[in-house]
């Protein structure tokens, strides 16, 4: 199916890193659940292997079809399907960990947000490679922002803050790659920074000062200038007002939602236990299956969100460092593929898929080593979970697709 002249251009280091990480994942899902007190968890690594078959096939298929077929109408179709599934989840979804994230179909449960991310990247690549690509023109930003904004809001509603922010991260990365002026990028980020800082007056004022200086020196046109100032003032003033009108329990919910480590006893405890697990691995680890922090119900999500802490405990600095380097390799190869591609759509496709990996790896590993709050994002390829695995292989498949056809314009 794949002509030899294409397959010779498969990115071999990327392929190797992907497969290696997947095998490490199955092994540590086994390790994390082998000693579990719940018998239902013992067979999870077998289910993960079954999902791997599905994921490999899906990855091979999306790699084989020339990626240009995803351009144009197909991109909108896929995006529409992705949004449809997200909306469906809000109505008939299953509640897991306090949020509606799952769609069940017989014994199979899928997490549509994982697939929606892939579809959103495809559409963004399509829009940013189209004719209206002059990003110095602010109105050309509207469509990409809407494209990422809608799934962002739908996933936020579930509520799944970690995954929803992925859409924003991917959008910003792809805009950056498309050559969006850094100044515009800065202005796009300001309202978000504003919300975060508006509760702390000195920081907020300092930030407004910085914004004013940048605005003064930027010589942007009047309308965008008013827009930036208006949005920032509105957000900065409205946020504390809205906050003050909330019921105490609503505030509590939002605080836990934004930063579970801040107040929930459990999340802070998880981080400490994760750090103890990783740190106690020392240089070479306690040996595969010999971790002692598992099974103590310290980390209930050890085979999913906290799998990296098992890796750290059992294989030490050597092993967890190696896994981190495999992710680094995967991401750098993704960037290389994107850079090498002659076609703008292809390049954006590859960089978008790579940015999904980057965001997840960054947030998850930083969480397990105590650098970021607990958000509940899986570690791609390693964490147990079918939807995440399939989505990861779709992403790798698409990157390989671009790699094989880099010569095409």
């Amino acid at each position: 199916m794949i002509a030899p002249r294409f397959s010779s251009d498969i990115d071999r280091p990327l392929l190797a890193a992907t497969l290696l990480l997947t095998l490490v994942g199955v092994a540590f899902v086994f390790s994390a659940t082998a000693m579990s007190s719940s018998a239902a968890e013992h067979g999870l690594y077998l289910r993960q292997l079954a999902w791997l078959v599905v994921a490999l096939s899906a990855g091979a298929v999306v790699a084989a079809v020339p990626y240009r077929v995803y351009e144009g109408k197909t991109a909108y179709l896929l995006y529409g399907i992705g949004l449809g599934l997200l909306v469906l989840t809000l109505f008939v979804g299953h509640v897991g960990l306090g949020a509606q994230r799952w769609l069940a179909w017989g014994p199979v449960r899928i997490q549509p947000s994982e697939l929606a991310k892939v579809a959103t990247v495809i559409l963004l690549a399509n829009q940013l490679s189209g004719r209206k690509q002059d990003l110095t023109e602010p109105k050309n930003l509207i469509r990409p922002i809407l494209t990422a904004g809608i799934p962002f809001l739908l996933v936020l509603k579930q509520p799944d803050l970690g995954t929803s922010v992925a859409f924003i991260a991917v959008l910003l990365t792809m805009l950056y790659w498309s050559g969006l002026p850094l100044l515009t990028l800065f202005f796009l980020v300001t309202p978000l920074v504003n919300v975060a800082l508006s509760f702390f007056l000195p920081a907020w004022l300092a930030f407004l000062g910085l914004l004013a200086v940048v605005l003064y020196r930027s010589r942007i046109r009047l309308l965008p200038l008013l827009l930036v100032v208006g949005v920032n003032l509105f957000v900065g003033i409205a946020t504390p007002q809205i906050w003050n009108h909330l019921q105490p329990y609503q505030k509590q919910r939002i605080a836990t939602f934004l930063d579970p480590g801040a107040d929930a006893y459990g999340a802070g405890y998880q981080i400490i236990q994760s750090k103890i697990a990783i740190g106690s691995g020392q240089v070479v680890g306690k040996g595969f299956l010999h971790g002692t922090q598992k099974g103590l119900a310290f980390l209930p999500e050890q085979h999913t969100d906290f799998i990296y802490s098992v890796v750290g405990e059992e294989t030490g600095f050597v092993g967890s460092g190696f896994v981190a380097l495999l992710y680094l390799l995967l991401i750098l190869r993704g960037i290389r593929v994107a850079h090498r591609a002659r076609n703008r759509f292809g390049g954006l496709l590859a960089v978008g898929m790579t940015s999904i990996f980057l965001y997840h790896v960054l947030v998850n590993i930083w969480m397990t080593v105590g650098l970021a709050p607990v958000t509940g994002l899986p570690l791609p390829l390693l964490s147990y979970g079918g939807s995440s695995l399939v989505a990861s292989f779709l992403q790798v498949g698409l990157i390989q697709n671009v790699a094989m056809r880099w010569r095409e314009y």
């Binding site: 490679s129 690509q133 002059d134 110095t136 990365t173 950056y176 790659w177 498309s178 050559g179 105490p248 329990y249 509590q252 919910r253 836990t256 107040d263 006893y265 459990g266 802070g268 405890y269 400490i272 236990q273 750090k275 103890i276 990783i278 740190g279 106690s280 691995g281 020392q282 240089v283 002692t292 922090q293 099974g295 103590l296 119900a297 310290f298 750290g312 405990e313 030490g316 600095f317 967890s320 460092g321 981190a324 380097l325 992710y327 680094l328 991401i331 750098l332 960037i335 994107a338 850079h339 002659r342 703008r344 390049g347 960054l362 590993i365 930083w366 080593v369 105590g370 650098l371 314009y409």
Partner: protein
């Protein structure tokens, strides 16, 4: 083709910046791993093997509660709580060990082993928190646990504030009590910031003002070594200090409260509500029988709980606000007012039928409480001597429509809105009500006869009766009764009660004065039924009532206010199954008034020492 013709042309040049950012992110990860695993590795290895890390909750003391004169009625004292960590490594390695530990603890703490294992089984969901097995543990048990630490892995003694009510059962119903939060509440998002085993206010002020009184628990991470010594886990999370709850000052006057409570015979059931008619402040709120809220602070056994909640006289039931009784003759002043306001009668009007001790309506005979009859009376005497026959005829003349319309202007069927949870509404039925419950047209016009004298389907809570008594006294204002005096945050005292608590009902001042004078005569006139509420120095206005009770002896009622001209206190008294209001309820009201107007000096009142409750 089109790619490089882009205006920007430079979209490929972003590769370097992106690569650098990625490299920075991963460098940070590797540096962090190096720090955790190589630099701090030995320490974390030690933590993973020997010591336990756990969250220690620093329980915030609840806010104190004081009466209007600053006397303490609820505070917190330090106490010991014995906890267990069921995820101690001794138990995760050998689950059976947990049972033997609990078996050993049971006799030490003086509780059933089953009680302990049931508690552990229920609460072991949150692995990071130890389970509070027992609060307020005696010093002897604390010493035993500390000495046998090696045989009791994961068992700790922690210090926690204990809710204390220095006056014991006094004011129990208005205060409420605290108890462990239930599973059902924990599942409710409203209680998202509570953890299993946390205390929460139940009933009364403790429940109603939970948000203010509770404060905010702190926490810290501690490392417990094999000897049971704790040390703060440095370099991780900073401890969060507990924030004490807000202190509250109530409108209650303990002197009045105490007089009201002591006025009841031992074993009697009933309620007293005393209000300040000028602003709706609650001076006393009593329900009998009462209970000792201290019993709940330490955790209560199931059998004792059953005894209190259902056994015999339902001591947990707050009769002052949760029970509605037929108002009996205490409603007559308001029926009279309805007659005057509607122009159905003038003050001097007499009815065709003079009182012979009974009144015939159709084929039915309605009796007067005085079998000998009152003769022909006008309004003032009818109220003073509480003549039923006069009010039967007034009820008939008014008709159900006008009577119920007037009662709804007085909000008789509504809650008073007192700032206590679980207030029940009263009832003064109207035509719609009878249509709904008896079927349209299937009830007799004669219901108005009974309603006019406060019998039949009419029912009022004692707090509502007190509000109505105050209404007559203050010249036509329905105040929302309230117990919270200072609106927190502390220091800012509201000089005037807010208008939202005031509801003026437009009634003719002359009509109201007529009723008020009649009520004064009820107490002062030799023929009046309320003579036993009379005070030497101060003029009292009141009305007795006797509510027929199909289940047993009649309930005795009395409402009053004093001094008549500008009242400073209004009281409603109810005594269940005690017979006549004049003999059973009026004397209680008198004691309340006496305590209010002539408070005993503090020394002799015995209200200075907490000695009552010392062990």
């Amino acid at each position: 083709m089109r790619a490089d013709s882009s205006v920007l042309g430079g979209w490929r040049h972003r590769e370097r910046g992106f690569t650098l950012a990625v490299a920075a992110i991963f460098s940070l990860v590797v540096l962090r791993l190096f720090y955790l695993q190589v630099v701090q590795g030995a320490r974390y290895r030690e933590l993973s093997e020997g010591n336990r890390i756990r969250v220690e909750v620093l329980t915030a003391p609840r806010g104190e509660i004081r009466d209007r004169k600053g006397r303490l009625i609820a505070d917190s004292v330090p106490s010991f709580t014995v906890t267990i960590d069921p995820f101690d490594k001794a138990y995760t390695r050998n689950p059976a060990r947990l049972d033997s530990t609990l078996a050993m603890l049971g006799p030490i703490l003086g509780v059933d082993v089953e009680f302990l294992s049931e508690k552990v089984g229920r609460e072991r969901k949150q692995s990071f928190l130890p389970i509070r097995l027992m609060r307020n543990v005696a010093m002897k048990s604390v010493a035993f646990v500390s000495e046998h630490r090696d045989r009791l892995p994961g068992v700790e003694v922690e210090s926690e504030p204990l809710r204390r009510y220095p006056w014991g059962p006094m004011a129990s119903h208005l205060l409420g009590y605290v108890g462990e939060i239930s599973e059902k509440e924990l599942a409710d998002p409203q209680y998202a910031d509570y953890l299993t085993g946390d205390l929460i206010g139940r009933m009364g002020i403790e429940r109603g003002q939970e948000g203010l009184l509770r404060g905010q628990d702190g926490k810290r991470f501690v490392e417990v070594n094999a000897l049971g010594r704790k040390s703060e886990l440095l370099g991780d999370k900073r401890p969060i200090l507990p924030k004490r709850g807000v202190d509250l000052t109530l409108t209650i006057d303990l002197d009045v409260q105490r007089a009201a409570e002591e006025a009841f015979e031992p074993g009697a059931r009933g309620a007293v509500v005393a209000l300040d008619p000028t602003n709706g402040e609650v001076l006393a709120l009593v329900s009998k029988p009462n209970y000792d809220p201290n019993e709940f602070s330490t955790g209560i056994t199931r059998s004792r709980w059953d005894e209190l909640s259902t056994g015999g006289n339902y001591p947990l039931f707050n009769r002052a606000i949760q029970a509605a009784y037929p108002a009996g003759s205490t409603l007559k002043p308001f029926t009279a007012l309805a007659g005057l306001e509607n122009g159905a009668v003038a003050p001097g009007t007499t009815f065709p039928q003079s009182c012979t001790g009974e009144f015939r309506f159709g084929s039915r005979l309605f009796g007067c409480w005085n079998k000998e009859g009152h003769g022909r009376l006008a309004m003032n005497d009818a109220i003073v001597r509480s003549c039923d026959v006069y009010f039967y005829q007034l009820g008939l003349r008014l008709g159900l429509g006008r009577l119920s319309a007037f009662m709804s202007r007085l909000r008789v069927s509504d809650r008073t809105g007192i700032d206590l949870p679980q207030e029940r509404r009263g009832l003064f039925p109207d035509e719609n009500w009878y249509d709904r419950h008896f079927g349209t047209g299937r009830w007799s016009r004669g219901v108005a006869l009974n309603l006019a004298i406060g019998q039949g389907e009419v029912s009022l809570t004692p707090v509502k009766l007190a509000q109505l008594a105050a209404f007559v006294g203050n010249g036509g204002t329905l105040w929302t009764p309230h117990l919270i005096r200072d609106t927190p945050p502390r220091g800012l005292r509201a000089p005037e009660p807010p208008d939202s608590l005031r509801l003026g009902v437009p009634v003719g001042p002359r009509n109201l004065a007529l009723v008020r004078d009649a009520m004064a005569a009820v107490v002062s006139d030799p023929t009046g039924t309320g003579g036993r509420a009379r005070l030497d120095s101060i003029a009292v206005a009141g009305k007795t009532g006797t509510a027929q009770n199909p289940h047993g002896e009649d309930h005795a009622l009395f409402i009053c206010f004093a001094p008549v001209e500008s009242p400073r206190i209004a009281v409603a008294v109810l005594v269940e199954n005690a017979g006549h209001g004049s003999s059973a309820a009026a004397p209680i009201a008198r004691k309340v008034l006496q305590a209010f107007f002539h408070p005993a000096p503090p020394e002799s009142a015995g209200l200075t020492a907490v000695a009552v409750r010392e062990p």
